[in-house]
Symmetry: C2
Subunit: 471 residues, 2 copies
């Protein structure tokens, strides 16, 4: 597929008609006219090879998963910095960030009543350990916080299992983050959750928990969907379910990590910056290929592609591979703090953290004025099917949230999400889940947006901080 | 959905027109006229409750997986025999069968070069063990028997990995069954195969291997698709891959098991028999819910349903839950041998071993004459969408193969197979993969076919043994 722009008068008039409410001044060319050729070049170059996929494969196969605080994360960062320098990117550096170091250790869950059977589990990130011999206790299955509240008297001395079918990630995630402390408040000894997954082949899915400091920290783990459902069925049949949970997880002192930063310095306004990136850390399962090796490589290769094509925009384009998105968000905050003085001149913060699946457009948070311009830029990839702009009232991605909160327009790739929760935070997040063509299209989508926004005569307007902080 | 039959003259004429080439004699009513009401009653009753699903849940949750030779298989058989008697089925018995006893034991595979990482694996059924400290050797990845033959000189002293993408089960299965001995013939120390799976969340899939007695038996295991692809990528990049495989699998002496048999004795021709069944054994992973708890319960409940509805056909309807389908086929052979004298009076052998997913019809092997009648019976469920009859040149299911080879018409449910190889022989073969409505429709499909074929004025004709043995 190649990108071509309509050139007939009719199409031009149609474009003018839809460009409201923020048409450019009459003496300036439209975005379509000014950048159609560049967008086409970028799209063809990005999709003409499989460089990004080759690079992603090298990253995830060589270093494996990359949890904050792990040697593999730092080794991956060293390699990326070296590769970026070889690529000829500018101002390549690792910016120091202190990150948590949680180490899973040996862990297991075994059903001991009504029959003996191993359960598939993954401890939740940040969980405390069990005593050495584990916790053996009857299980109380609930489906929601409400049901736990109603049955709180039954929870004391038990292992509470939240068996909530997956529907909405926001809802399911709250059970994962807040469920353990809710269970502890009711006197539970440990907490299990049903993995957040839309398809399961008895594959547990981990993720972060957040302890409430006013109650005891109890160990918490995700069971595979299949195991959670089975325990629930036993309870429904009136059978007593007893489980032994063993976890040796340990939270150590914070350790140094780095945000990876590199640039294509702007030719006219080097102090104005378009940020684009992904997060380089992952959970300690699978390869972190989808979450978020793919997004990281897409952003990196987008900047590399502009450099290879000699497309140096007016403003600086800066790739940032944030560290510690998964279990802390320290990288996003550190970027904000270190670059505080530059942030008024940041014109866009864009992240790809939706799995590097086939992109269909962009998710955007910003003012109407900024959205109008962004839609015109997105329209450059209309014939490639990447033209949608979905506006959202909140920061569309975690690492850019500290920037969006300050009024900087925020953007994420809007990718096909149909398989995202098949693999998310599981051992199945591996290179083979990413299609080379999809990844190349992610590169194109990020490169076109970053290049044009960085090159427009005027910067994208910020939202007022007040509006942004209300999100 | 309910089943209704067309009653207008026009529909009747249309039916006559399509009933060729084997219309019943003019004085007999058509199958549609004679059995339309009964088929409707059966379909409505089968789909009017979730008895079959409840029973399947009890079976797989209470006993778990049921590998030949395991205590759980025999406990499940004891329970089924007891339940069948309580159901009021007739001549309930376990017919003795000696079965293999292969015990997996502890096992693991670890990549030790180019970096250290655990691999997800399942030993193949029947594999020998490795030495206690495992086998540590470089890996040679091939994609086919042909490539192994071409690179045989490189295989000596290595672990051969077959990384063949899944397309056709017959092709992929041959790599699983014959790959280990082919690798041994080339001097390999062990054999790995890429799991046979159409979707993977790093879930290995086991299955039977077949050693060639003329070469050394080497240990063999299935890697997850993801791991096989990763090792292949390392090889493609020119990196040396070394793996340590540890398996403590053990083949013990054969032990007693049983085929579960129960009947609804025919009211006129009790010695003529329609057999329908599934296999009660499973692999030693997951719950064996799809393969083949669902088929077993569908057949059992089909006969139970006829009994509950008071539909006693002319001939005997016999449910058989074969043992040892997965790793030997001893149950199917034992049934043939024990019932040898009755087999000339067996009119149909039907098995459900396609996962108890939504049935769309039947797969059939038999003569044109038999197929003509079977199509008329299948048409009774036309309005329920279960009317297709797909003819095949070979036995459509493993346990009935010894019967089909003798000329007995053979049949299997033709179910939606789109997800079968997501879960097949893996830890993901659990109750939640079966939809209660689909299972109820499988019950209906088996019950209608069994009832009508057992009640027709004349038996389905056998094929000649010569024709069948050529399949």
């Amino acid at each position: 597929m190649t990108v071509s722009r309509p050139s007939s008068t009719l199409a031009f008039l149609a474009l003018l008609a839809t460009a409201a409410p923020f048409p450019l001044p009459a003496q300036q060319p439209t975005i379509a006219a000014a950048y159609g050729d560049a967008a086409g070049r970028i799209y063809r170059a990005a999709t003409g090879d499989s460089l990004a996929y080759t690079r992603l494969g090298l990253l995830v196969d060589t270093f494996g998963h990359r949890l904050s605080g792990s040697p593999s994360l730092e080794a991956a960062i060293d390699w990326i910095l070296s590769e970026m320098s070889k690529d000829g990117l500018e101002k390549v550096r690792g910016e120091p960030v202190m990150v948590p170091r949680w180490v899973r250790g040996a862990e297991s869950a075994v059903m001991v009543q009504p029959r003996s059977a191993p359960l598939r589990m993954l401890g939740l990130g940040g969980s405390v350990a069990t005593p050495k011999n584990g916790i053996t206790a009857p299980v109380l299955v609930v489906t929601s916080f409400d049901e736990l509240a109603q049955r709180a008297a039954e929870a004391k001395g038990k292992i509470v299992l939240f068996d909530a079918p997956f529907s909405d990630y926001i809802v399911s995630r709250r059970i994962r983050t807040d469920g353990p402390s809710a269970a502890a408040r009711a006197g539970a000894l440990a907490c299990l959750i049903r993995s957040i997954a839309s398809v399961s082949i008895r594959s547990p899915h981990t993720g972060m928990l957040v302890y409430d400091s006013t109650v005891a920290k109890i160990p918490a783990a995700a069971l595979s969907v299949e195991d959670a459902m089975m325990l629930h069925r036993f309870q429904d049949r009136g059978e007593r379910v007893v489980v032994t949970l063993r976890m040796s997880a340990n939270t150590h002192s914070d350790v140094p990590s780095r945000n990876v930063v590199a640039e294509l310095v702007g030719r006219e306004k080097p102090d104005e910056v378009v940020v684009l990136g992904g997060h380089i850390d992952s959970w300690d399962v699978g390869q972190g290929a989808m979450d978020d090796g793919g997004g990281s490589v897409a952003a990196w290769e987008a900047v590399h592609l502009l450099q290879r094509l000699g497309l140096r925009p007016r403003r600086t384009v800066r790739v940032v591979l944030w560290t510690n998105e998964e279990n802390g968000g320290a990288g996003g905050r550190a970027y904000r703090d270190r670059h505080a003085s530059e942030l008024p001149s940041h014109v866009l913060a864009m992240e790809s953290d939706n799995g590097a699946f086939n992109p269909k457009g962009y998710i955007f948070m910003g003012s109407d004025a900024a959205a109008g311009l962004v839609k015109e830029v997105a329209a450059l990839l209309d014939s490639a099917g990447i033209s949608g702009v979905q506006r959202v009232p909140e920061s569309p991605a975690a690492d850019i949230t500290p920037l969006v909160a300050l009024g900087i327009p925020g953007m994420e790739l809007d990718n096909d999400g149909s398989r995202y929760f098949w693999y998310h935070h599981s051992d199945g997040d591996t290179l083979d889940k990413i299609d080379p063509k999809d990844l190349a299209r992610c590169v194109a989508a990020m490169a076109v947006m970053a290049y044009v926004v960085a090159d427009l005569p005027d910067p994208l307007p910020h939202t007022s901080s007040t509006a942004a902080s209300g999100s």
